[in-house]
């Protein structure tokens, strides 16, 4: 029984963590420390890397 509960908890943690990272990567969340940064308007970010480089 213990093993099943632990398995479920670990599976939940894996899904949650991966989902959080994907959301951060895609910029789906608002900009803050824990969730990452979303550029809701593309023009807020430099239009391409040439702007910086």
């Amino acid at each position: 029984m213990d093993k099943i509960i632990v398995g479920i908890i670990i599976a939940g943690a894996v899904i949650f963590t991966i989902k959080s990272f994907i959301n951060t990567y895609k910029g789906k969340k608002s900009c803050n420390c824990s969730d990452g940064c979303a550029c809701s308007s593309e023009k807020k970010c430099p239009s391409d890397s040439k702007d910086i480089e």
Binding site: I10, S20, C33, S34, G36, C37, K44, S49, I52
Partner: protein
């Protein structure tokens, strides 16, 4: 139906404060320019209607020179709001109205919120509001955003004037430019050139102001018209240059100020005290920003902040440690032996508890920083550090990005990276956003607090100050190296408006402190919890194989062989003081076997194998394999360093009575000492930014090249610093 309105104005004019007052929002407000670098949205609902309110970044002009100006202007042009609520700082009327004129030139209905009336009054400024409204032909409502005074009247004025058709304001820019503008409008209007978005005269003006965004859009729209417009501009510019020795941009700015002045001088503004008298803020600044006294005061302020934080957080931190210790002890007694018990105690309570235990410290640190921020002292720090920053190829505006990232401690690199948007030079911006992760963010703080409390308890504040200095010096040296090699380029000038000193409100301080503390707790309860569980699993599985387990069983059998059943039962059930000497010795031997088994299992786990595989290299910097696991976990989020150490040392612990805090465990652990602790502190300061920051750097630079550089370069730099420190330190200590 709701009415869409925008709050716009100069930086530090109180837009975000008014936004929070109207929407009940909790957006961050700071007594320094550049707090809002992206738009924020909220709703205001009363009997007069429902309003969708957008808080735009503060700007001085609407020409696309910097990102926040682009954000503000794009929104006004593309979203077509019903009204602009222009927040105007009543104590700096002339400069603020310069932007108002540009709003009115766009042809969008404007309502002026004449904010900070209390400050203006204190400065002896009297404003004839009715006359100002009449001359500008827009509603003007006096407000004090900090207390919410005037917000109802403002929204009534908005409701009454939104959707009204307004003619764009026509400011005369002198015969030469006016004639050219008329000619350009004649070209723009019939061709419908960019008229979907912009009014014709406004487009023409932007050509004169050399607005690259409009010029580029024009080229895409109609190359022939665009070329004709550029010719008109060039011809006029040449003429102005030869006759007046001036550029069109300068003449346009002069005429806008002239227009504002012509209004103010019609009895709108009156100074009933000497306009040039030294204000209290100026008097304070004479001392606080003094070339010699300023840096000393700054060091004293930081030292005071750290002393305050450690002094007041000590008791609640110990209390929370005891609470988590008690929870671990309770779980130890209540849960049956097995992996669920191990997950609860080592993975969750000791992992996340290690991070949550520092909540009081974080809270006091945030309270102190919020106080400095709200008084306006942080802006002075920027001002003083500008000279230093320029020496290292950075910009005065970089200072605020550093402070937001945790320059004093307790910030976050993500908004720090975002704050670099206020920098106009792309190269200075890149150098800043690659170095802000060196600051001591709130996630690094528990790592430092843990190690400082364990190994430098006598001089906590001093060591914290030293850590701060090291991170700043390191960041500046890296910036200098980058600006001298891969991102070479000229420095740009820095002009900063110093906001007046303000006494922070209790409400403001509480909102800032609680908001940041909540963010820290939320992160501990979500992302850190998830990662802690994963790392616990990595530190638990696959465990020991049957042969190795049998070896430990054999050792136990050897220890207990020849003992009577009664003695064995006593060892299991009685307390140590009730045992005979022989039984006590057996119990200790058995515990040692348990400990060896637990450590062998940990070392054999997935994480243990990763940790030991790199120990051959990292031990030269003083890091054992448990520390390696923690540091690898720290790539996900820096707090994980603490939670992983908590889990690692908890999994290696077998005494059920042992509920000591992690700092006490580290103190007793072999191989740990001040030298190892400081080496780890140095590594934590400099090594790779966390995952979220890496993603943000990628988004802000528009490529993965720079975040990859940041991860690799920072980690190599951190290891080199720790290695040199540890090896040199080992000679002396």
């Amino acid at each position: 139906m709701s009415t869409a309105i925008v709050l716009a104005g100069n930086p530090n004019s109180g837009k975000t404060t008014l936004f929070n007052e109207l929407t009940g929002g909790r957006q961050h407000v700071g007594n320094y320019p550049g707090v809002t670098v992206e738009k924020k949205q909220g709703t205001y609902e009363t009997d007069i209607g429902r309003f969708d309110i957008i808080d735009l970044p503060g700007t001085y002009s609407l020409t696309a020179y910097s990102l926040e100006e682009v954000v503000a202007r794009d929104f006004l042009v593309n979203e077509n709001p019903s009204m602009i609520v222009n927040i105007v700082d009543a104590s700096n009327l002339e400069r603020n109205l310069y932007l108002s004129v540009q709003f009115m030139e766009m042809g969008i209905p404007v309502c002026i919120a004449l904010n900070m009336m209390d400050v203006a009054k204190k400065r002896g400024i009297e404003i004839d509001i009715d006359k100002l409204s009449k001359l500008l032909k827009v509603p003007v409502v006096p407000t004090i955003a900090r207390s919410g005074k005037g917000k109802k009247e403002l929204m009534h004025a908005v409701a009454a004037n939104a959707f009204k058709d307004v003619e764009p304001l026509k400011v005369s820019y002198g015969l030469d430019i006016d004639t050219a503008l008329d000619d350009m409008v004649k070209l723009i209007q019939p061709a419908g050139f960019l008229t979907d978005h912009y009014k014709p005269r406004w487009t023409a003006l932007k050509y004169f102001e050399n607005d690259q965004q409009v010029i580029e859009a024009g080229k895409k729209e109609n190359k022939t018209i665009a070329l004709k417009l550029e010719r008109v501009v060039q011809k006029t510019a040449d003429h102005l240059s030869s006759t007046l020795d001036a550029h069109p941009e300068g003449i346009i700015a002069d005429h806008r100020y002239g227009f504002v002045n012509s209004i103010l001088k019609q009895g709108v503004i009156r100074f009933y005290q000497d306009e040039n008298r030294l204000l209290l803020s100026d008097k304070i600044d004479k001392i606080v920003t003094n070339k010699f006294l300023g840096p000393l005061i700054m060091a004293a302020v930081l030292m005071g902040l750290y002393k305050f934080t450690f002094a007041y957080s000590g008791v609640p931190v110990t209390f929370l440690e005891n609470v988590f210790g008690w929870a671990a002890g309770f779980a130890q007694q209540m849960l049956p032996d097995g992996i669920l018990k191990s997950l609860m105690i080592s993975g969750i309570i000791n992992g996340v508890g290690g991070v949550l235990g520092f909540v009081p410290l974080i809270m006091f640190m945030f309270l102190g920083i919020s106080f400095l921020e709200d008084t306006g002292y942080l802006a002075r720090m920027s001002f003083m550090l500008d000279r230093v920053f320029r020496m290292f190829g950075l910009h005065g505006s970089s200072v605020m990005a550093f402070i937001v990232s945790g320059g004093i401690a307790g910030g976050c690199a993500v908004p720090g990276v975002m704050a670099t948007r206020t920098l106009k030079s792309p190269k200075e911006r890149l150098a800043t956003l690659l170095t802000v992760p060196f600051m001591n963010c709130g996630a690094k703080l528990p790592v430092f607090a843990l190690l400082v409390a364990a190994f430098f308890a006598e001089s906590k504040a001093l060591v914290m100050l030293l850590i701060t200095m090291i991170s700043w010096v390191g960041a500046l040296l890296v910036a200098w190296a980058l600006r001298s090699t891969v991102i070479k380029g000229e420095s740009t000038p820095f002009i900063m408006e110093l906001p007046p000193y303000r006494l922070p409100t209790l409400k403001g301080l509480l909102i800032h402190t609680l908001e940041r503390t909540w963010q820290y707790m939320r992160k501990a309860g979500t992302v850190i919890l998830g990662i802690s569980i994963l790392l616990w699993a990595m530190m638990t599985f696959p465990g020991l194989n049957k042969a190795r387990l049998a070896k430990f069983e054999y050792k136990r059998a050897a220890i207990t062989s020849g003992l009577s059943l009664q003695t064995l039962n006593d060892i299991k059930t009685l307390e140590e003081k009730s045992l005979t000497k022989k039984a006590l010795a057996v119990k200790e031997n058995l515990l040692q076997v348990d400990l060896d088994q637990a450590r062998a299992a940990l070392k054999n786990s997935i994480a243990g194998r990763i940790g030991t595989s790199i120990e051959g290299v990292t031990r030269f910097a003083g890091f054992n394999w448990q520390t390696n696991i923690a540091l690898v976990g720290g790539f996900a989020a820096k707090e994980v360093v603490v939670s992983t150490l908590g889990t690692a040392y908890s999994l290696g612990e077998v005494d059920p009575q042992e509920t000591a805090s992690l700092s006490n465990k580290l103190k007793k652990e072999k191989g740990w000492g001040p030298l190892t602790a400081f080496s780890l502190i140095l590594f934590t300061i400099f090594y790779s930014p966390c995952f979220v920051t890496v993603v943000c750097i990628a988004r802000e630079t528009g490529s993965w090249k720079w975040p990859a550089f940041s991860v690799i370069f920072n980690t190599i730099l951190a290891f080199t610093i720790s290695l040199v420190f540890y090896q040199v330190g080992s000679i002396f200590f």
